[in-house]
């Protein structure tokens, strides 16, 4: 919780649930994946993380479904699927 300030100050993170915006959903095929990390480097929202096992995974809470990871993946390991009606 933020303290009372006399001037315009913000504290604590404001995060828009951008996962809601998604109309397409990235699906990563761990078998095809070459563990190159390119998707992680180019995902604009930092939704892709590297696990302890060097495996990559996509967090859908904020993924906006832009398709950049799929487009950039040299192994074509990511597919963009239509987002199911929530």
């Amino acid at each position: 919780m933020s303290k009372e300030y006399i001037g315009p100050v913000g504290e604590g993170l404001y995060a828009v649930r951008t996962g809601d915006w998604r109309t397409r959903r990235p699906l990563m095929d761990q078998k095809t994946c070459r563990r190159c990390g390119i998707c992680l480097m180019y995902c604009p929202v930092n939704a892709i993380s590297r696990g302890a096992d060097e495996a990559y995974s996509i967090g859908l809470e904020y993924c906006k479904g832009c398709g950049v990871c799929a487009a950039e993946c040299p192994a074509k390991a990511i597919a963009m699927e239509k987002e199911g009606a929530k």
């Binding site: 933020s2 100050v9 913000g10 504290e11 604590g12 993170l13 404001y14 995060a15 828009v16 649930r17 951008t18 996962g19 915006w21 990390g37 992680l40 480097m41 180019y42 995902c43 604009p44 929202v45 930092n46 993380s49 590297r50 809470e61 904020y62 906006k64 479904g65 832009c66 398709g67 950049v68 799929a70 487009a71 950039e72 963009m80």
Partner: protein, 309 residues
Amino acid sequence: MTALDTLATREDQISPGISACVGCNVELTLRTVLKVLGPNTILAIPPGCMGGVGVVGWDKMSGAKVPVFFPLLDNSASMLAGIRLGLKARGREANVVAFAGDGATVDAGFQALSGAAERGDKIIYICYDNEGYMNTGYQRSSSTSKGSWTSTTPVSKEGSGGKPQHRKDFPLIMAMHDLPYVATASPAYIPDLVKKVERAMEVKEGLAYIHIYNPCLTGWGIKSDDSIAISRLSVQSRFFPLWEAHGRRLQFTVRVPKPVPVADYVRRIGKFRHLDEARIAELQAITDERYSFLEAMDRMGGGANAPGA
């Protein structure tokens, strides 16, 4: 540490959910840059898309984990210069960084930036150049390419119009300020970008400047999937060459021996749709002209500026 390791292990300093457009490569750039800079950073986000989408926060909350603020559109560099002086007065050290659009940099904030550059204020100034004022709906800036449609350089039904002037060669103008470090970068070359931010952080005295060329999906008419591919073409066509300079010692960091035609780049962008061959040829010509100038500088290598040369 490789760029990938850096990006995979460092904490994202920006709120995980900001309202940038789907696929926005400026968002990518910002997150990347901030991961490299790390938490000991004070971040200026002038009015522009990144402020508009919430990186400085809303009401009583913040959009970033590092201290972040709105400068005015026209005073990012001078506010940061003041922050540096304040830190010095307090005996403190931190990265003092602007992440500013081309409007805030090349137009409204240029004088403040040029002044800070000359004084040698120790700040890292990063310009994301999306060729215009996107936050207000895409008006032209000094950085907009010739021929480009913008909402203030409209195109008639017959396809005439668009911006009449070539874009300011701003990174080179900054290099002529004899700065300790100037570089260009692209969201399509993240490892290159990571290295450049690291170089900027190494600067001990004076201003470091990085100019990043970020095609704007919404403003330019680009599908989100194409974001990086088109950014890459801007480099591969030599339209936006990647280099770095210490003082006037300039060197390419990505060499493009066999460029693709500028047309291949331009034709994939909505805002250039109306350009006919002759007008694309103009863009090819300025590209060649500017590139060969850079080549000459690159050839001069360290030589021209070594003391006593």
